[in-house]
């Protein structure tokens, strides 16, 4: 099993605030890697650092064997990384169709991926002509994931996909991410340990800007004290 993405000891500042103080992680090809941690631990900033949206000051980020630290965001994305941000990043004034089309990197990407995209998200067909702003939160989440699948991406960065969604929808989203595993590597940020433990292969725990634990998800589930220490009460 080779690591598709390798983040090594990155330090990221936002303004003068030292947000990431040494985050390291790796995402293996074909797996779902989960990043856990409390609010403000630096999970979102880690994803944004990988994409160059908040470029790290030091450390290394390798994707598919290539150093991507310091590249502009669009170049990093073009290498095959899809991003599903916490706020979903749906263009509210564009139709569902346009939201998918804009992600095309080569002409006809959407046609080529139609089976995959509409197989996973059949509802989008029905919503095709609606504007992004007319969709519910759950529908926007589906659209954001679908959009990341339109170009030939190898890695998806998904940030808190279940936030603010009803329990039924949460289950559906997680089921979908589980299915995604067959086609793409996923790096997932999830606050809800219970939800995350169901689909993760490997997991990392971040705390105040540092990686404090790395291991198999199955082992973490058994280690109650570790879960208590870094993730708080989990019942």
């Amino acid at each position: 099993m080779s690591a598709l993405l390798e983040v090594q000891d990155i330090h990221t500042y936002i303004g003068q605030f030292h947000i990431l103080e040494g985050v390291s992680l790796a995402a293996n090809e074909g797996e779902v890697t989960v990043m856990l941690g409390r609010n403000g631990a630096g999970k979102t900033t880690t994803l944004r650092s990988i994409l160059g949206l908040t470029p790290p000051r030091s450390g290394s980020i390798r994707f598919a064997g290539k150093e991507v630290g310091g590249l502009p965001t669009y170049s990093v994305a073009q290498l095959g990384i899809g991003y599903v941000p916490e706020d979903r990043g749906i263009f509210t004034d564009l139709t569902v169709e346009e939201n998918l089309k804009i992600a095309e990197r080569a002409k006809g990407d959407l046609d080529r991926k139609a089976d995959l995209v509409f197989g996973l998200f059949p509802d989008l067909k029905r919503l095709y002509r609606l504007k992004g702003g007319q969709l519910s939160g759950g529908q926007q989440q589906m659209l954001a994931m679908a959009r990341a699948l339109v170009p030939d991406n190898r890695l998806l960065l998904i940030d808190e996909p279940t936030k603010g969604l009803a329990p039924v929808i949460v289950e559906k989203v997680m089921e979908t991410i589980h299915q995604l595993k067959e086609t793409i590597t996923v790096l997932l940020v999830e606050q809800n340990f219970f939800v995350a433990s169901g689909i993760g292969d490997r997991c990392y725990i971040l705390d105040v800007g540092r990686t404090v634990h790395a291991g198999a998800m199955a082992d973490l589930v058994r280690d109650e004290s570790l879960v208590q220490r870094y993730l708080g009460a989990v019942a």
């Binding site: 502009p72 965001t73 994305a77 991003y83 990043g89 263009f91 004034d93 564009l94 804009i102």
Partner: protein, 300 residues
């Protein structure tokens, strides 16, 4: 007020509205997409006016057909404005994207520099420009003569409005612009080089303003302050229409043009200008996202 007068004022208002639109649409898109408050935008209007006039007058001895000279002048004006716009974005605006305050100061300073350069090149006083032969007639409009040239400006404005609207709604570039106005970061994360789109939009916006200036030249003449003067109205339009909203700036242009025409007729041009700036202040205080839409999430 008779019906003929009313129609006449409306046509006059539409004429001004279309000139406002040509300068405001670029201003609004540039702000919406790039967050650049471009105080040098009126300079492109001025450059367009001067280059069109210089081309028209300068070739009079060689080319006897005034219609042809006028057409070439329009194109030359728009190209000159677009060219200077592209250089401005690339050389002066781009290095300052991380320092927006400096960017504002830069564009403000540029406006004065451009005005002074124009004075050096063509003198501090204004020049009048003749209208091309086929547009110097008057057209009968409900029994009253109306200058054909103003109808030309209205037609030109409407044509550009339509072309830009279709470009925004139907092309991939338009889609990227609409998406970028709402969330530029996400557009980049999709693998799109937003900087290149910035340069393109800045250039197109500058070319549109310059085309407006070129079209205005035979109507109001050319003078160094023309840019700053029209820019003020354009800012009013952009605020009323909603920063970043193309449809908003189109609607607000016509609204402000009509308001100007009526106030010009009933009161005086100076009072009219003051009233419009007051309207802008009220909109800024009560509905800062504009009447027709907001930058974020409001879209077109």
């Amino acid at each position: 007020m008779t019906l003929e007068t009313l129609v006449n004022i409306c046509l006059q208002g539409l004429t001004m509205g279309m000139l406002f639109f040509l300068i405001a649409s670029g201003l609004s898109l540039i702000f919406g997409l790039m967050d650049v408050l471009n105080f040098a935008h009126g300079s492109f209007f001025m450059i367009g006016a001067y280059v069109a006039w210089a081309t028209f007058d300068g070739t009079a001895a060689i080319v006897p057909f005034s219609d042809l000279r006028f057409a070439v002048g329009l194109v030359a004006g728009a190209l000159a404005g677009g060219g200077v716009g592209a250089l401005t974005e690339w050389g002066l605006i781009r290095p300052l994207y991380k320092r927006p305050i400096f960017q504002i100061l830069m564009t403000l300073g540029l406006a004065y520099v451009f005005t002074e350069v124009i004075k050096v090149l063509w003198g501090a006083s204004g020049h009048s420009m003749a209208r091309p032969e086929s547009l110097s007639r008057a057209v009968d409009f409900l029994g009253r003569p109306f200058p054909a040239y103003r109808l030309f400006i209205i037609a030109l404005g409407l044509a550009i409005l339509l072309v830009v609207y279709v470009l925004l709604q139907r092309s991939r570039l338009g889609m990227i612009i609409r998406a970028g106005v709402e969330n530029g970061e996400m557009v980049q994360a999709l693998g799109i080089n937003v900087r290149r789109v910035f340069t393109l939009v800045f250039t197109l916006g500058a070319a549109l303003a310059a085309l407006g200036g070129a079209a205005a030249a035979p109507f109001v003449g050319v003078y160094p302050e023309i840019g700053l003067e029209y820019q003020l109205s354009a800012f009013v339009v952009v605020v009323i229409g909603g920063m970043g909203s193309f449809a908003g700036s189109a609607a607000a242009s016509i609204l402000v043009g009509l308001a100007r025409a009526f106030a010009d007729y009933q009161l005086s041009p100076l009072v009219a200008q003051a009233i419009i700036v007051t309207v802008m202040a009220v909109v800024l205080l009560l509905k800062p996202e504009g009447i027709f839409g907001a930058k974020k999430g409001g879209g077109l």
